[in-house]
């Protein structure tokens, strides 16, 4: 039987690998694209309103993004495994209140934050157990726990509320303070973000999250402890929602039974805009964080430009669609350009 020369033909190897490297770069560019959109938006706003990028303005931008960045980071981990956690808003609300109740009695802020994280972990575990042990659709289960946690929250909290005056001054100041324009809260979020990204890229269990999102059946056959990983992702997501709850308390100094209501759609939007794919297996937490930054900034940019708040919602939605549509169109264009390029080389 005569067959092809087994020796590698260098002529075909070169375009192939350079092609994939380009694809690689484009994938990194997806985050870059959001960053560019974000920067353009900021620059235009600054041109329209010189007050926008004052120290206070930058601080506000970062502060506004912090809480969403944290929750979106946790959410992306879950979405990467081809699941979703809709209950994050409820978890955020209840853990914020837990931390607040503790602090009202004059507690230690660090313990309060830990308490909030613990509450978050508890509900994350609950979600994780239901999804992974029951092997049931995450969307339904977490929509269920969204209601359950919210219900428990409002029964427990009732009409009580935590107000800034009841909290230790140090805690509230911490919520709005920082080093020049960089708030403490933003630093916490950044550390969490970078650590999560590093873990996802450089640790076996991190890669396994991508693997099981990409093809659950293959993951099982490859001996990946699927349930354990999903449980871990949900727990982490819950922990971050809890942490976000504590930071919410510090930032707004005000928590009641409706805190975090409807937050799930915002978080999901941030994750989607950030390019984390809902069918699992791809996307990065940096993208999700950028998505969060972009979304929260729109809400600061529009008022700063003097756009009547009547228009804000519509513009918000249209921008969201534009962001994903542009991302998609660019990806398609690049893919077809690559194909033609390869054809010419081959």
């Amino acid at each position: 039987m005569t067959v092809t020369a087994p020796n590698p033909a260098p002529a075909t190897e070169v375009p192939k690998s350079s092609g994939t490297r380009l694809v690689d770069r484009v994938f990194k560019m997806r985050e870059l694209a959001i960053l560019v959109v974000f920067l353009v938006m900021i620059v235009i706003t600054q041109l329209g309103n010189s007050q926008f990028l004052t120290q206070q303005g930058i601080k506000d931008l970062l502060l506004n993004a912090t809480i969403l960045v944290l929750v979106a980071t946790g959410q992306s981990l879950v979405v990467i495994t081809r699941n979703v956690d809709l209950s994050v808003g409820s978890t955020l609300g209840i853990s914020a209140f837990a931390a607040g109740t503790y602090l009202q009695g004059g507690g230690n802020p660090v313990v309060a934050i830990l308490l909030a994280v613990l509450v978050g972990i508890g509900f994350g575990l609950l979600n994780g157990l239901l999804v992974s042990l029951g092997q049931v659709p995450a969307l339904v289960v977490t929509l269920g726990t969204l209601y359950i946690i919210r219900g428990i929250d409002s029964i427990w909290v009732g009409s009580r509320q935590i107000v800034a005056s009841a909290l230790p001054d140090g805690f509230v100041d911490f919520g709005s303070g920082g080093i020049s324009a960089v708030p403490w809260l933003a630093m916490i979020a950044l550390v969490v973000l970078v650590a999560t990204a590093y873990y996802l890229k450089h640790f076996g269990s991190g890669r396994e999250l991508y693997a099981l999102g990409s093809n659950p059946e293959a993951a099982r056959l490859a001996g990946i402890p699927v349930r354990k990983r999903i449980l871990a992702a949900y727990t982490f997501c819950g922990a971050l929602a809890g942490l976000a709850g504590a930071l919410y308390l510090a930032r707004f100094g005000n928590v009641d039974s409706s805190t975090g209501n409807g937050y799930e759609l915002t978080v999901v939007s941030a994750v989607v805009v950030g390019g984390v794919v809902f069918t699992g297996g791809s996307g990065s937490v940096y993208g999700a964080a950028l998505g969060a930054l972009l979304l929260t900034s729109i809400n600061s940019v529009l008022p700063a430009l003097g756009v009547s708040s009547v228009w804000v919602l519509a513009i918000n939605g249209i921008l969201l669609i534009l962001a994903i549509a542009v991302d998609r169109i660019v990806a398609l264009r690049v893919a077809s350009a690559l194909k033609k390029r390869n054809a010419r080389h081959g």
């Binding site: 007050q51 409002s154 303070g177 039974s257 805190t259 008022p303």
Partner: protein, 338 residues
């Protein structure tokens, strides 16, 4: 009503004649006992409504009647509120006190309730006049609107740009107050005061927060903000107290002393005002009982005695006004706890 093959707004307004009740009031009728009055706030678990309803509960217990509270868990769930009106109708309560999320949406259900001999009192937020027997107003809208402008103007020395941070764009009471604020500003003594913008924070802490930021960025010379909503003023105060604008940009509006105590003490806010929600609830309860007992029917000019609160007269369109709001500042705030 189909002049040119269709029904238009004009045809309808012609049809719409107001339906007033024909019953006669008997000012000397005995106050009934053992009634059941259902309170239906815009939202349960809302601290403001909880204190109002607590006031209602106290009054009803005193009068020997039964109090109950039902309501949706979201302040924008109008359909939920409607189904609670239906529920109360089904349960055959004697009267209900409703704070309407929407002036029109509850009408059909409320009329249905009145048809079933249930007296309907609205409080805090009204419906259309023909859908209830009486409305207990927290303070006259005119008073509130004008005094808030007066409060702020004094603080900024009758000079500079000001803005309003409201709740939802559709909030009826907010909009009425804002109209009176604008009217008050027409007075020549405010010729140097300029209202630059009305922003809407939807009674959401985070949104109100960002709207405040936006106002300050857009109008660097802003001197003062009026926020006629408890959620809005609290969020604005929290933002101001953590920013460089603290003390420089004045803030006033409607807030509860407990929410605002910290900001009054740390100098973010000089003075703000509010009525006592518990009194509002109490008056609503007493009005409901008076209606059920036949002391009043809701017609203009009728009077009734509301326990310790004194005598009240029903105004135009069945409106009963609680009185003037209290102004809170550093000096008196510690005397209040709600």
């Amino acid at each position: 009503a189909t002049a040119c093959g269709g029904t238009t707004k004009k045809d309808v307004s012609k049809e719409n004649a107001s339906a007033a009740s024909d019953a006669k009031a008997n000012p000397n009728a005995e106050l009934k006992k053992g009634l059941t009055v259902g309170f239906l706030p815009k939202q349960v678990n809302n601290p403001y409504f909880t204190s109002a309803d607590k006031g209602g509960e106290k009054a009803l217990t005193e009068l020997g009647s039964k109090y109950k509270e039902v309501g949706p868990s979201s302040a924008t769930d109008t359909a939920g509120q409607v189904s609670y009106v239906n529920t109360l109708t089904q349960q055959q309560v004697d009267a209900m006190a409703v704070s309407a999320q929407d002036p029109g949406a509850l009408c059909t259900a409320l009329k249905q309730a009145m048809k079933n001999d249930i007296k309907v009192v609205t409080y805090d937020s009204d419906t259309k006049p023909d859908c209830r027997n009486a409305f207990v107003s927290q303070a006259s809208a005119e008073d509130l609107g004008r005094t808030e402008v007066q409060l702020l103007a004094e603080q900024i020395g009758y000079k500079g740009e000001i803005a309003i941070l409201s709740a939802a764009q559709t909030a009826t009471n907010q909009n009425t107050w804002i109209d009176f604020m604008k009217d008050e500003l027409k007075d020549p003594k405010y010729k140097d005061v300029k209202l630059v913008k009305v922003a809407y924070g939807d009674d959401d802490a985070q949104k109100s927060f960002q709207q405040t930021q936006g106002l300050l960025q857009e109008y660097p010379n802003l001197k003062g903000i009026i926020s006629p909503t408890t959620v809005g003023i609290k969020a604005a105060a929290q933002y101001l107290s953590g920013s460089k604008y603290k003390g420089k940009v004045k803030l006033t509006g409607l807030g509860t002393p407990n929410d605002m105590r910290k900001y009054v003490k740390n100098g973010t806010v000089e003075a703000f005002e509010l009525w006592d929600p518990a009194k509002l609830g109490e008056l609503a309860a007493r009005t409901a009982v008076a209606l059920s007992s036949g002391q009043i029917t809701g017609k203009e000019g009728e009077t009734f005695k509301a326990g310790d609160m004194g005598e009240y007269t029903i105004g135009k369109d069945g409106v009963i006004s609680l009185g003037k709001p209290t102004v809170f500042d550093k000096k008196n705030i510690d005397q209040f706890n709600f």
